[in-house]
Symmetry: C2
Subunit: 237 residues, 2 copies
Amino acid sequence: MIQDRPKDTQETPEADRVLQAIRQIVSEGRLPSDGRLPTERHLAAELGAGRASVRRALDRLEAEGLIWRRQGKGTFAGQPPDPTEELAAQIASDVDPLSAMEARLCIEPALADLCARRATGEDVVRLRKLAERTHDADDSDSAELWDGALHRAIARIAGNRLMLTAFTLIDEVRMGEDWQEKRHRARTPQTRAFYDAQHQKIIDAIDARDGAAAARAMREHLETLFDNLRKSMERRT
Amino acid sequence: MIQDRPKDTQETPEADRVLQAIRQIVSEGRLPSDGRLPTERHLAAELGAGRASVRRALDRLEAEGLIWRRQGKGTFAGQPPDPTEELAAQIASDVDPLSAMEARLCIEPALADLCARRATGEDVVRLRKLAERTHDADDSDSAELWDGALHRAIARIAGNRLMLTAFTLIDEVRMGEDWQEKRHRARTPQTRAFYDAQHQKIIDAIDARDGAAAARAMREHLETLFDNLRKSMERRT
DNA sequence: GCTGAAACCAAAGCACGATTGGTTTCAGCC
DNA sequence: GGCTGAAACCAATCGTGCTTTGGTTTCAGC
């Protein structure tokens, strides 16, 4: 699996040209709203190359996770769609914030536990980086995004496909709801600082491979979040 | 909403005739393997009635939950398909028994907790009946079925749509797997008696509306189940 | 050994008409 | 007025056939 040859930027004259060209299309060239790339045959004609060369380049981009392909459908930028999202969209209509919170309070501490028992050193580094991004975020919106990424990363590292699916389900419903705004109002500079400290505590427990402590810290974090959300909802009433 | 007229078995001469005829088709008339009924137009012609009458009869059967209809598709006996099952079928392939058990251990105690806090007297009666059926089951297979129904009932009573979906996901994957056989081997007369006692304990806690105790009892039950499953797998090795 | 070209396969999309449940309207009949 | 039967129309779905598109193989040239 190890590339022997030192030339990494210029594998072969033609292949590299094609690869760079397509990479540029993906990264800066504006694509249709669905992210669809031109067809392989079209790209080959446009770049004056053969289909085989184009396919080799696309193979690489796909391996890098920049694009995904489906026979009969096309080539698209980004990640392949997740069937969990569709299910989430279907049941999102009759789920209230309280139910979502109950579900989070049930599953996320367990995920933190598993995460602590299975995380590699590399994983912990990534988590710390995400916590830092959450901390450094300028506005409340981007803090929200990085916070979501952190919780998602913990769920992924936990390494249980079923529980990850359940988490994704909750996460999608939570995001798609119109009570986004309520959550937004619940975030203040004070709460954000508090959340950052709790994130630290969770990650420290994971770093120490202490599953029970990680679960406890996560539960504490969620309960704080829950309380603030509830308070902000009562304030509205 | 209250029917004033005493005639319940004979609402109107024609409507009742059509209703009975279709009810008979659904209950005893053999249908195609997918449970599809003849089309409304076909039924109307065959029964010598108008489409409106047929539709009224079908409306009633649908309200009773005996059939379900979809525009452009047809009328079918039984319950409408659950999108959760499809998702479960998709991810079932890369889920091992251990992951499923982890997931159950995470979610079912929480469901028992919620169930204890929300169950009505009627709910408890139903649970006791299911536990009894599990106890009285002749063979291991039917015990398995009633046991599943009991756990599902607890999940439903918990009254959280998201968590019910997550439970259904786990349940479907668990059922569809080929390690059904392993679970079968793990059930012996001794373990069955033990499980019955644990079911009692769970339901007693629910009856007492003691959420924490219900969760504890459920966790204990699942851990026993888990241990036996693991032992039976090791025995095979 | 890589490239370009061509041909074929299989999965998905698209367009079309047919089918089917959902709805409305209308006339006939208690 | 209320139920019935008939008809017409709407909207979702399905089946069919053709096209598109990625996946694969083959072959000749450099």
